[in-house]
C-alpha cells in the first residue's frame, strides 16, 4: 500500500464511508458528462425517480458525435441528432450545466475542464470516458467510469471504489530536441506494456515532468489508460497554479490565495511510499510511432519494425502477428517506408493550442503531399478561437490542411470523420485499435502532432527532425 502520496491524500479526503461490501464510498468533486455515455444513465434516474445530487458539480458538453465540418442543426445523421436532443433535454430537466455550441465553450470534455478552470488540484474527477485520466495533470485523482457508474455519480455524487496501487514513474535528465510529451507517453507504454498499469494509478515525476508545460502533462496523463492505469497524475506545482490563474472557474481574490495554500499541501511527501517505482532516462526517448494495433506496439522513428520471433510470451507474439496482418506491414521495415493516406491532428491527447502550434510550425511554408487528406481539429471552441487569433488556421490551410470545428473527430469516428477501406492514418490521437477510426480495415499510426504534420508533408512517416523547423 502506498503512503503519503498525493493519491493517498486525495483519496482520504474524499472517503465518505466503507460500504458493506468493503469498498470505499468515494465522493466525486467534479463530474463531467458527454452525450454518448450519459443518456442511459439519465434514463435510469428517471426509472428510479432520482434527482442529480450535486447539479452544480456536474458539467456536460458534446464532443464524440458532433460533425466537424458543419454543426448546423438538425445534424444529417438522425441518430446523432437524437443523441444531441437527449443531452439537451437531460441537462435541462436535471438542471445540469451544459456547454453547447451557443455557450462558446463546447469541446472535447477533457479539454474544456482544464481550460475553463473547472479541473483543480486535489479534486476527485469522474467522467464516463476512459481518458478522464487527463485531468490528473493538475494533481487530481481522475478516472473513467461506465454508464451505471455515471448513474451513481449523478444520483449520489459518489462511487463505490476499490483502492488503487501507486507506481511512481520518474524520468530524469533532458529530452532531446524534437521529443514531445506524446513521445514520452508512447515510450512509457512501450516499456511497461498496455497492461502494465492494471490496478495502478501512475505518478509521473522527475525533471522531465517538472519542466513540462501543463498541456504536455495533460498529454501524458491522458495516455495513462493506454498503459492500463486508470488514473495518472503529476504533483501540482507553480506551473499548475500559473496555468489556472484567471481561468473562468478558478477561484478569485482571497479564495485564490486560500486555494493555492491548500493545493501546495497536496504533493506526495518526500517520505512517500509507493507500490512500485520505475526510472527512465530522458535522453533515451526518441520521437515514437506506433505501427501495430495497441498503443504499446511502437518504435522510435529511426528504428525498424520488430521481429515477432524474438517475443517469448506466446500471447504477446500472437498479438504482434495479428498486428502485422491487420496493418499489412512487415518485420524489419523502416518506419519511413510507411506511406499514409490521412493525417489527423486533434483529440483530447493532442488537440490543445500547444499541439496546434507544434503542428503549424512544421506545416508553415510547406505543402501537404499529393493524395494525403490532412485536417486539423481543435479540441474546443476556445482552442479554435485562440489558434485563429494566432493565424494558425491560415498556416494550415495554406499548407493544404483542412481547418475544422471542435470535436473528437477521427479519434473514434462516431461522426462523419472516418477512414475508408484500409486507409492508413498518421494520427495525434490515442488509440490504434482495429476499427477505431471508423473502418474495420482502417489502419492507424499514433504519433505526436508535429510528427503527424511532418508525415502529411512527406506523404509517409518521417522523423520530424529531418524537416528542419
Amino acid at each position: 500500500m502506498a503512503k503519503n502520496t498525493l493519491y493517498n491524500k486525495v483519496w482520504d479526503a474524499h472517503n465518505v464511508a466503507t460500504l458493506p461490501t468493503g469498498q470505499t464510498q468515494l465522493f466525486i468533486g467534479l463530474h463531467l458528462v458527454h452525450e454518448v455515455t450519459s443518456p442511459q444513465a439519465f434514463d435510469m434516474l428517471r426509472e428510479r425517480g432520482l434527482k442529480v445530487a450535486y447539479p452544480n458539480r456536474t458539467f456536460a458538453t458534446m464532443d464524440h458525435i458532433v460533425p466537424t465540418k458543419s454543426q448546423i442543426r438538425p445534424f444529417a445523421d438522425v441518430e446523432a441528432e437524437q443523441m444531441m436532443q437527449a443531452i439537451e433535454v437531460n441537462t435541462k430537466e436535471f438542471g445540469v450545466n451544459f456547454f453547447d455550441f451557443a455557450s462558446g465553450r463546447q469541446g472535447v470534455v477533457h479539454i474544456i475542464g482544464p481550460e475553463l478552470g473547472l479541473t483543480q488540484p486535489g479534486q476527485t474527477i469522474a467522467c464516463g470516458d476512459s481518458h478522464t485520466s487527463t485531468h490528473g495533470a493538475f494533481g487530481t485523482l481522475a478516472f473513467g467510469i461506465g454508464t451505471s457508474q455515471v448513474r451513481d455519480v449523478l444520483a449520489t455524487q459518489c462511487l463505490a471504489m476499490d483502492p488503487m496501487k501507486v507506481r511512481r514513474i520518474e524520468i530524469n535528465g533532458k529530452l532531446k530536441s524534437g521529443v514531445t510529451p506524446k513521445d514520452v507517453a508512447l515510450y512509457i507504454i512501450n516499456r511497461l506494456g498496455v497492461k502494465g498499469g492494471l490496478g495502478y494509478a501512475y505518478e509521473y515525476a522527475g525533471d522531465v515532468f517538472d519542466s513540462m508545460t501543463m498541456e504536455g502533462r495533460m498529454t501524458v496523463c491522458n495516455m495513462s489508460i493506454e498503459g492500463g492505469a486508470r488514473a495518472g497524475y503529476v504533483n501540482p506545482d507553480e506551473t499548475t497554479f500559473a496555468y489556472l490563474k484567471g481561468r473562468e472557474y478558478s477561484p478569485k481574490g482571497a479564495d485564490w490565495d486560500a486555494a493555492v495554500a491548500r493545493w501546495k499541501k497536496l504533493a506526495s511527501e518526500k517520505n512517500a511510499e509507493y507500490d512500485d517505482v520505475v526510472r527512465y532516462n530522458a535522453a533515451d526517448i526518441e520521437p515514437m510511432v506506433t505501427w501495430g494495433v495497441t498503443p504499446g506496439q511502437s518504435v522510435g522513428v529511426r528504428q525498424t519494425l520488430p521481429d515477432p520471433a524474438t517475443i517469448a510470451d506466446s500471447g504477446e507474439r500472437q498479438s504482434v502477428e495479428l498486428a502485422y496482418k491487420h496493418m499489412k506491414l512487415k518485420p524489419g521495415q523502416k518506419t519511413s517506408d510507411i506511406a499514409i493516406n490521412v493525417a489527423f491532428v486533434g483529440s483530447c491527447t493532442n488537440g490543445r493550442i500547444e499541439d496546434l502550434r507544434a503542428a503549424a510550425a512544421v506545416a508553415k511554408g510547406r505543402k501537404v503531399a499529393q493524395g494525403v487528406e490532412a485536417f486539423v481539429v481543435p479540441g474546443s471552441m476556445k482552442v479554435r478561437e485562440q489558434a485563429m487569433q494566432e493565424g494558425l488556421d491560415k498556416i494550415f490551410t495554406e499548407a493544404g490542411f483542412e481547418w475544422r470545428l471542435a470535436g473528437c473527430s477521427m479519434c473514434l469516428a462516431m461522426n462523419p470523420d472516418q477512414l475508408k477501406g484500409d486507409q492508413i492514418s498518421a494520427s495525434s490521437s490515442n488509440r490504434n485499435f482495429i476499427g477505431r477510426q471508423g473502418s474495420p480495415t482502417g489502419r492507424t499510426l499514433l504519433m505526436s502532432p508535429a510528427m503527424v504534420a511532418a508525415a502529411a508533408i512527406a506523404g509517409h512517416v518521417v522523423d520530424v527532425r529531418e524537416l528542419s523547423v
Binding site: 460500504l19 464510498q25 454518448v36 455515455t37 461506465g146 454508464t147 451513481d152 462516431m414 476499427g435
Partner: protein, 196 residues
C-alpha cells in the same frame, strides 16, 4: 436485486490478448441512446463482413449459441470505458467472464451489471478454452462461494476482489442504494473539502 452465486452454462472461448472495447463493440453502435439493442452487436466487425455475410468467429458458430460463460485471455476489455461493451456481451447471453486479466474499468462495469469478471491462471484458462473448444457441449459451473470453475473433470480456482464477490453474492452489486444510504456522511465529507 438478485444474488449472483452459481452460474451454469456452456462456455465460448474468445482467444487473444488485449481484446479492446472497440473490437467488442464498434463505436458506431454507441450512437443509440439506449442499451436495448446492444445484444445484436458484440464483436460485430469480427463477425460480419461489410455486406452482412458471416465471418468465422466463436460468437457465430452454432455450437456456442446460448453459451453463458466467456473465456478470454490477457487484458480483456481494454480501451474505452463504454459500458456498451459488457452490455453487448450480457445482452447476448454472457453471465460470467473468465480471463487471465481484465482492464480495470471493464471489470468494474461488469460487476455493475451483476456479471463476475473472474481471473484464472494462464494454464487454467488454456485448459478451460481447450475443453470448450474440443467439447463445446460441456456444462461449466462457476461458483462464487468456493471461487472455482468446474467443467468436465476440471476444477480450477478463480479470483475476484473480495468486495466485488461480496456485492455479487449478497445481491448488492447495484451500488446506488448503498451509496444513497450514506447521504448524511456525503454531506459531511463535501463540507470539509474546501473547494465546493
Amino acid at each position: 436485486m438478485s444474488k449472483v452465486i452459481h452460474i451454469k452454462g456452456r462456455a465460448v472461448p474468445v482467444v487473444g490478448d488485449d481484446i479492446d472495447t472497440d473490437r467488442i463493440i464498434p463505436a458506431r453502435y454507441l450512437k443509440e441512446i439506449t442499451f436495448s439493442k446492444m445484444g445484436n452487436y458484440p464483436f460485430y466487425d469480427e463477425r460480419f463482413n461489410a455486406d452482412g455475410s458471416k465471418k468465422d468467429h466463436p460468437f457465430n458458430r452454432p455450437e456456442y449459441q446460448g453459451a453463458s460463460i466467456l473465456l478470454g485471455n490477457v487484458n480483456f476489455g481494454c480501451g474505452s470505458s463504454r459500458e456498451h461493451a459488457p452490455q453487448s456481451l450480457v445482452r447476448w447471453g454472457i453471465r460470467a467472464i473468465v480471463a487471465e486479466s481484465f482492464a480495470e474499468i471493464f471489470a468494474g462495469n461488469c460487476v455493475m451489471l451483476g456479471t463476475p469478471a473472474l481471473v484464472a491462471s494462464k494454464e487454467d484458462v488454456a485448459k478451460l478454452q481447450k475443453l470448450a473448444k474440443d467439447e463445446p457441449q460441456t456444462e461449466f459451473n462457476v461458483d462464487l462461494e468456493s471461487m472455482s470453475v468446474q467443467a468436465g473433470s476440471l476444477v480450477v480456482p478463480v479470483k475476484l476482489p473480495e468486495s466485488r464477490r461480496k456485492a455479487l453474492v449478497e445481491g448488492t452489486w447495484d451500488s446506488t442504494a448503498l451509496l444513497l444510504a450514506n447521504a448524511d456522511k456525503v454531506k459531511a465529507t463535501a463540507q470539509k473539502l474546501g473547494y465546493l
